[in-house]
């Protein structure tokens, strides 16, 4: 970790109705750090993630991203062209439903290669080699490189979506319930993979989940949301083992009872 924040979220609000959405959100994220956003359904986790990943304009507030050249960009003040370029190169988004983040009728190789081509790669052999490498990295059989995601299982689709995002070696990826739709055993495998990739790549991740087990396994730090606001934040173990806010205590105990 350096002392320079990778992402600074400053007083963000995006409300659809009073207390529906997210409001008064501020936090910093450092390179290589994994931040979990937890909270009950409807508390505003996905809204917050859309805003801080530059995909939805906030009502107020600012999101600052420090790029590879140490230049700081305000995601909603830079040109649309710049914002979309950052989203395709240095940032990534992993959707809960893998097909939302994949091209269903394009082969796995093409899905992974797209981001490379979008940032200017024009050598088929190189693109294919890197797609193959990434398939191997996410533990998908190379033989499946020319098959479309529609022929993949849910777990494979999710790993493919991750590979598609990581191929441009982003500094930060945003994930919304990436293990949500998967069987428990498939989830476990995906979590292992994500943990390994985060460590190997020094990748920063902001992950939305309402599974505290997932949060415990992956996140260095947690943000707990309720009714569109952050009610508690801290190191994951602290928050989960010694919750301060009544709502967090309820959240943790309700999981223990399950």
């Amino acid at each position: 970790m350096t002392d320079q924040a990778l992402l600074q979220v400053k007083q963000i609000s995006k409300l659809y109705q009073p207390n529906k959405g997210c409001q008064n959100i501020s936090f910093d994220l450092y390179p290589g750090e994994v931040l979990g956003i937890v909270g009950e359904s409807g508390s505003g986790k996905s809204t917050l993630l859309r805003v801080i990943s530059g995909r939805e304009q906030p009502d107020v507030g600012e999101v600052l991203y420090r790029d590879r050249n140490q230049q700081v960009h305000s995601l909603f003040q830079v040109s649309e062209s710049k914002r979309r370029h950052l989203l395709r190169s240095e940032l990534g988004v992993v959707h809960q439903h893998p097909l939302d983040g994949l091209r269903p009728r394009v082969s796995a190789g093409g899905n992974i290669g797209e981001r490379l081509m979008a940032v200017g790669s024009r050598h088929y052999g190189d693109i294919r080699a890197r797609a193959s490498q990434w398939l191997a990295d996410v533990e998908i059989d190379i033989d499946r490189i020319d098959d479309t995601p529609l022929t993949y299982s849910g777990g494979m689709q999710q790993r493919l979506q991750i590979a598609r995002n990581l191929v441009t070696e982003p500094s930060l990826i945003f994930m919304d319930e990436p293990t949500g739709g998967l069987d428990v055993s498939v989830q476990a495998k995906l979590l292992d993979l994500m943990r390994r990739l985060v460590q190997e790549l020094n990748l920063a991740v902001i992950i939305v989940t309402h599974d505290l087990g997932v949060a415990r396994l992956l996140a260095d730090r947690l943000v707990v949301m309720k009714n569109s606001e952050i009610v508690e934040t801290g190191l994951t173990d602290q928050v989960l083992d010694d919750p301060q806010h009544a709502y967090t205590q309820l959240l943790v105990s309700s999981v223990l009872q399950q």
Partner: protein, 280 residues
């Protein structure tokens, strides 16, 4: 039908002015699709109503028109469009490429090199090259504006992954003037190099989709490809069975009910010229 029943070149003058304004904008921004208020033409969409409206807007009494369909001057569609302009624009017509001042075409660029002063009018079914991947018009516009063209190469990547080479043979996408990616209409990729630095003005009209776009004379037009899979045109192992040409686009024709086949020039005017040259 009396000539007085219709305005010169069928469309009223206001409409032609509107079309010319769109054409001028299209010429000013090479490869960019300009929306226009497409009119009903006395034929169904898909029969070249976009190309016809463009021709209506640019034709004058001094013009000589050639109309081709798949390279041939004598198909039903080409004949009726030619008759239309003979009747309603008192246009002189020709089948000889070099004699035409306006050539309206579907699916081919003539083999004889075009000259300065000529206008080539293309009939276009689907003008948006990004449509296959993105159905939303708002999004494709943004993609063009920001030159977000990665997906066009994904299409070529898929070809190579599946067939070992770029299998796209028609409507092969091009980049115009180093900015906009453009669908050249369903011409064979064999014709793509002819668009590059052509001395002629190239106008594209899509009637159903209400778009006009253009390549001004002497504009850079490059076909998309990969460094290790460069763009290539079709080639044939044999010459044209009629005229012996080895440099023209050949159609395969079935001669009888026993499956006998021949390859002959798709450009009927070019084939005739070659035959005449052979006789001399």
């Amino acid at each position: 039908m009396t000539d007085q029943a219709y305005n010169y070149a069928y469309l009223d003058e206001q409409t032609k002015r509107m079309l010319r304004r769109s054409i001028l904008k299209a010429v000013a921004i090479p490869g960019f699709q300009i929306p226009f208020a497409s009119r009903e033409m006395p034929m169904p969409y898909g029969w070249g109503t976009g190309g016809m409206q463009v021709t209506c807007a640019v034709i004058g009494k001094q013009d000589t028109l050639k109309v081709i369909d798949q390279g041939a001057d004598d198909t039903t569609n080409a004949v009726s469009i030619r008759k239309f302009f003979q009747t309603l624009a008192q246009a002189k017509t020709t089948e000889v490429t070099s004699e035409a001042s306006i050539i309206q075409t579907r699916h081919r660029i003539p083999e004889s090199p075009l000259q300065a002063g000529q206008i080539l009018v293309y009939q276009v079914p689907i003008p948006e090259p990004l449509r296959f991947i993105e159905p939303r018009e708002t999004e494709t516009r943004l993609m063009h504006a920001l030159q977000e063209y990665g997906v066009m190469h994904v299409k070529l990547y898929e070809d190579i992954a599946r067939y070992g080479h770029i299998a796209t043979a028609y409507a092969y996408p091009v980049k115009v003037n180093a900015h906009y990616i453009m669908d050249p209409s369903p011409i064979p990729k064999f014709d793509n190099p002819k668009m590059h630095q052509s001395p002629a003005l190239q106008l594209f009209g899509a009637g159903r989709e209400k778009r006009i776009y253009a390549i001004p004379p002497y504009t850079q037009v490059s076909s998309l490809d990969f460094e290790d899979h460069p763009f290539e045109v079709q080639s044939w192992d044999e010459p044209c069975a009629i005229c012996g040409a080895q440099d023209s686009f050949l159609d395969e024709v079935v001669l009888d009910d026993r499956g006998t086949r021949q390859f002959i020039c798709s450009d009927t005017d070019y084939c005739r010229q070659q035959q005449e040259a052979n006789r001399d």
